[in-house]
């Protein structure tokens, strides 16, 4: 009889995040309304504290725990650090935004912590049960957070749309999982590959496609991206910021892990299929972003396009480990630049009451520092030096060129980068060239400023001195291969 587990410390990051979530929930019940700031502080500091156990596990592994249900390797750990940091930044962005909420302030932060918990489990999923439960936990918290502004019809609409698409996608994915179980007799992700290869059938391909549909919904991949613009526009802006980074990166990690196993159902076809999906996703996101007048909606399409860029890394990773390295690097940069762009959008929205591009008019005169920060994020999203986005795209496209026949992916990526320059610079044009209104910008809350500073330092540091992160990304990508 094997022991159920040998080392509980391997899930210490998850335990800490779960403890924080419950602590926030209890604190909200016990303490009076006047303590709202302290409750937000508890959530933020708790998530920062959760970075420590994760960091202390670095280099342990790859090991699988709980009879193979839970994997710990450097890839999972790097992603957990990323998710926890993104969660902490979202707390900073949310604290003042939700301060006026009639009810549900504490629950918001508790749910955000549960969301981070779900993402951490997604990064470590070793079997399909854990994968599905983590996937659902992240979805359910996501539905609730998107609909969090109870009296705002747009927020309700965002919640409903996210729920309908999400529940349908997870139903399809679960059916695919049940077929995979029947075909292979195992739920362990590692065990799937050999057994699928041993008896390949059409049904295996269908099941794999169904699983991909669920994961594709999570990362907003074409043709499962239709929910993204409406949900991103309607959801409260801090929630949108987190939805655009957290689930996307966690979903990609699952695609890397799961598709590596289930591509055995049709090893010749799957890379081509994913490559095609990556190209279509990039073009869909970028072409539809061009005509958007609302910055949140534009960033939604931009995030669809980024799912496409990141999928390039997934395809290349099957042929060359540099693909996964580039994917991890770009994922880290993407989280910080996107959160930063949303933080600026949040400030402008708080000032003008909407997030239209015209609200950014003359921001360079009204708030030069803010306009400069937004410019850095936009340059990074486009992929222009000296930002992290440039290095990330360089690594991704470079990795694609290094594999024969995949240079087409790099070409599509470069064309898309050129397209994206147009709509990103549309915001810069509004900020620098359009005349400013009368009003001066109000003082920006301290917490939000802190989030902004972290984002901009991270984006610039990764652009100017990318070596540290490339090493981390390289180590993470190696961990997966050796398992």
């Amino acid at each position: 009889m094997p022991k159920p587990f040998s080392d509980i410390s391997l899930i210490s990051p998850e335990l800490v995040v779960a403890a924080i979530a419950f602590a926030v929930l209890v604190a909200d019940l016990v303490f009076p309304r006047a303590w709202r700031k302290e409750i937000a502080l508890l959530a933020g500091l708790g998530l920062v504290a959760a970075l420590l156990p994760t960091a202390s596990l670095w280099g342990r592994g790859p090991v699988s725990e709980f009879s193979g249900a839970f994997l710990v390797d450097n890839l999972a750990l790097a992603l957990k650090l990323l998710f926890t940091a993104a969660g902490a930044m979202t707390v900073l962005m949310s604290a003042d935004y939700f301060m006026g909420l009639r009810k549900g302030f504490g629950e918001y932060f508790a749910l955000l912590c549960f969301f981070v918990l779900a993402l951490c489990f997604m990064a470590s999923a070793g079997d399909l049960i854990v994968l599905y439960i983590a996937f659902e936990l992240s979805s359910i918290t996501g539905y609730l957070l998107a609909a969090w502004l109870r009296d705002d019809p747009k927020s309700n609409e965002a919640g409903l749309k996210y729920f309908i698409y999400g529940a349908a996608a997870s139903g399809v994915m679960l059916f695919g999982i049940s077929l995979l179980y029947g075909l292979t007799g195992t739920l362990e992700i590692r065990g799937l590959a050999d057994r699928l290869a041993a008896n390949s059938s059409v049904l295996g391909g269908v099941a794999a496609a169904m699983v991909l549909a669920g994961l594709g919904y999570k990362i907003a991949m074409w043709p499962f991206h239709w929910w993204a613009p409406d949900v991103y526009e309607g959801a409260p802006t801090p929630v949108t910021a987190f939805l655009s980074v957290g689930p996307k990166i966690a979903g990609l990690a699952l695609i890397v892990r799961v598709m590596a196993a289930i591509q055995a159902s049709a090893p010749d076809a799957w890379p081509a299929v994913i490559a095609l999906l990556a190209i279509i996703t990039m073009f869909t996101g970028n072409l539809l972003a061009i005509r958007q007048a609302n910055v949140k909606r534009m960033l939604a399409y931009s995030s669809i396009a980024h799912a496409g860029y990141l999928l390039i890394g997934v395809v290349v990773a099957w042929f060359n480990p540099t693909g996964l390295q580039a994917l991890v690097f770009y994922a880290v940069v993407y989280v910080f630049m996107n959160l930063g762009a949303f933080a600026v959008a949040l400030i402008v929205e708080a000032q003008s009451g909407n997030s239209l591009i015209e609200s950014f008019a003359g921001l360079a005169q009204r708030a030069p520092v803010l306009a400069a920060a937004m410019t850095v994020f936009l340059l990074s999203l486009t992929g222009i030096p000296p930002t992290g986005g440039f290095v990330g795209k360089l690594l991704l496209f470079g990795a694609a060129i290094s594999v024969p026949k995949l240079w087409l992916l790099a070409l599509a990526g470069i064309v898309n980068t050129a397209i994206s320059l147009y709509y990103y610079m549309n915001i810069a044009r509004a900020m620098f060239l359009m005349p400013a209104g009368e009003e001066r910008l109000e003082r920006v809350p301290g917490a939000l400023t802190a989030a902004l500073v972290v984002a901009i330092v991270a984006v610039l540091a990764m652009g100017v001195a990318p070596q540290a992160l490339t090493v981390v990304a390289e180590v993470s990508s190696r961990a997966l291969a050796s398992l």
Partner: protein, 115 residues
């Protein structure tokens, strides 16, 4: 006349039919509650698959799943039942809010945002 004993294929066909009906309901229903029911059908179709595979063994020759030897599918089905309940609760809460702010439960009429 005796009917053939009920075996794995029967369960799989039933599950496939249920899944198709659920998906059809999700695509065509004009009422949010109807959508929710469709989603439940899809999840329960997967549950039937999981339990049937667990009981009768897998499809392929290399699966090594002896009849009744495997509990994974049963456990998974129990988890799915719990998750489906959570999902339904959250879905109903969202639909209720929507009805209170917009006075409709037809997802097609909820379209303040387009393109």
């Amino acid at each position: 006349m005796t009917l053939p004993p009920v075996g794995l294929p029967h369960y799989l066909v039933l599950a496939a039919l249920l899944f198709a009906m659920g998906l059809f309901a999700v695509i065509t229903r004009r009422h949010a509650i109807g959508l929710l029911l469709g989603i439940e059908l899809m999840l329960n179709a997967a549950n039937i698959n999981l339990v049937a595979f667990s009981r009768y063994g897998g499809l392929g020759p290399t699966t090594g799943l002896g009849p009744g030897a495997h509990l994974d599918g049963h456990i998974f089905a129990l988890m799915v039942i719990a998750l489906a309940a959570c999902e339904a609760a959250v879905g109903l809460a969202i639909i209720l809010r929507l009805y209170q702010t917009l006075a409709t439960t037809d997802p097609n009429k909820v379209r303040a945002m387009k393109w």
